[in-house]
């Protein structure tokens, strides 16, 4: 937190890339499609329902309802103001988003289902209302499921590309996989067979790459890999030549 807020020049989150202000809006539209739009309308709909139509939305008091729908707005406002944006930064607010969307749709449904002659909507036949709501809900669900399917089928190459290495007889302990410009797609060492390592070769990337944990078995403390300071690290995303392996040492070369 100290680093992110009081980093100073050449430090802090902004050196890792910045995005325009509408990044989260576009991203959440992909991740929650129409539910995100509904979630944004939760507060106005709640106030409208309570103060204009004089109906309660839920069994909670109006104050508690306002408090329940407010975390999403707070979160979105804070992170939209930050220049450095990432998809995962929205994760903690996802449940709040789903809650807000549910509040909104519930409020809209109670208006659509109204049989009060004073409401214009009561003139619409029940079957038409039902068909409209069903088409809306099924479309929203389908778009969400298709996107999830798309994520699993179209973006899963980094998870499957290492599978052949795990076939018997392909890799031996001590072998190396080399990563170049696409290094950030490497999912984790857990996808390599035991004893195999990933190393980097020089590519167009000029930032700081991850290093290796010390494997020295020194000292009396637990987990020396965790407390020994690794060489060549900095907090300014500056390139460290020590992170590159010499290409001669490779037995298996891939993804370069």
């Amino acid at each position: 937190m100290m680093y992110n807020i009081f980093g100073g020049s050449n430090k802090g989150p902004d050196i890792y890339g910045t995005e325009p202000w509408d990044f989260y809006i576009r991203n959440l539209l992909i991740n929650f499609n129409v539910w995100f739009v509904l979630a944004l309308f939760a507060m106005p709909l709640l106030l409208l329902q309570h103060f204009v139509r004089g109906q309660t939305v839920s069994r909670q008091s109006i104050l508690r309802s306002i408090i329940l729908v407010s975390p999403l707005y707070l979160w979105l406002a804070i992170f939209t103001l930050q220049p450095h944006k990432e998809e995962r930064f929205m994760y903690p607010a996802y449940p709040a988003l789903a809650l807000n969307a549910a509040f909104s749709l519930h409020t809209l449904l109670s208006y659509i289902g109204s049989t009060n002659p004073k409401d214009l909507i009561s003139k619409v036949p029940g079957q038409v209302k039902f068909a409209f709501v069903m088409v809306f809900a099924i479309a929203a669900i389908d778009v969400g499921l298709l996107r999830s399917l798309g994520l699993a089928t179209a973006y899963s190459a980094p998870l499957s590309v290492y599978a052949p290495l795990r076939e018997p007889g392909v890799a031996r302990p001590g072998d190396t996989v080399c990563l170049a410009k696409e290094w950030y797609r490497f999912p984790s060492s857990y996808h390599l067979p035991s004893g195999m390592r990933a190393k980097f070769v020089k590519s167009a990337f000029t930032g700081l790459l991850p290093g290796e944990f010390s494997e020295a078995r020194v000292g009396f403390g637990f987990f020396p890999g965790a407390w020994l300071v690794p060489p060549g690290m900095n907090d300014e995303n500056m390139e460290d030549p020590g992170k590159y392996a010499s290409t001669i040492s490779f037995k298996i070369v891939g993804l370069c």
Binding site: M1, I30, N31, F32, N33, W35, V57, S58, R59, Q60, L63, I67, L68, S70, L74, R88, M90, Y91, P92, A93, Y94, P95, A96, L97, A98, L99, A101, A102, H106, L109, I141, G144, L145, R147, S148, G150, L151, R166, P187, Y190, H191, P193, S194, L208, P210, G211, E212, F213, V218, G219, G221, F222, F223, A226, W227, L228, V229, P230, M233, D235
Partner: protein
């Protein structure tokens, strides 16, 4: 692979978060199908999916009872079918851990059957923030604001302060485990010139935290 955030020099990330997952994988080794590194990876994701489903089921049941059954079922449909939750629920990321905290925190604040659960709510948000992502603690602010507002309206200040304090203390328990892991990553006994030969029992008494001295 070690990123610079984990270097003891900067120590931006906590080992407590990693430690919890290491325990999960160690327990997973008791199962016959968890052995290779690849199976460990997917076993952890299965546990994430299970934990997230348990948290969401709790929120769903409280919503049904104390909000409205229709709101609850819509919440469930959005959570289950949206691509956002599809990847957020099973990521090995502190943000995902903080999200579980949000779900349980919302559950506690919503559920006032049998008295206010402010302390419990603060605790869940607190655990998510301390072990996961500190910034996620911001999400508790609306609820703290409500507590303070209600206390000032009903003149029950003492009970309110007590509840807030109770919640803070519960979160501090998570902080202690976090600090312990911080110590593990910062204790370098080889640099301890004045330490006497250590027996395992005097180990904690001789910790030399070079981070504070050098």
């Amino acid at each position: 692979m070690q990123t610079w955030e984990y270097s003891p020099e900067y120590a931006i990330r906590s080992w407590a978060y990693v430690g919890i997952h290491a325990i999960v994988i160690k327990l997973g080794h008791l199962l016959p199908f968890v052995g290779s590194k690849n199976s460990e990876f997917y076993f952890l994701r299965i546990i994430f999916a299970f934990v997230c489903a348990v948290c969401e089921t709790r929120l769903y049941s409280v919503m049904t009872r104390l909000l409205n059954p229709r709101i609850a079922i819509i919440y469930l449909i959005v959570s289950v079918t949206s691509p956002g939750m599809f990847h957020a629920s099973v990521s090995y990321l502190p943000s995902t851990f903080a999200m579980y905290g949000t779900i349980l925190g919302l559950t506690a604040f919503m559920d006032w059957s049998g008295g206010l659960r402010t302390a419990q709510g603060i605790m869940w948000f607190g655990i998510g923030a301390v072990l996961g992502w500190p910034f996620a603690g911001v999400l508790v602010l609306p609820f703290v604001f409500e507590e303070v507002l209600l206390a000032s309206l009903t003149r029950q200040g003492i009970e309110s302060i007590w509840r807030l304090l109770d919640g803070t203390v519960r979160s501090l328990i998570a902080l202690v485990s976090d600090l312990l892991s911080y110590t593990v990553s910062h204790v370098d006994l080889t640099r301890c010139r004045h330490c006497k030969p250590l027996s395992i029992f005097s180990f904690t008494g001789n910790l030399y935290v070079y981070h504070g001295i050098s």
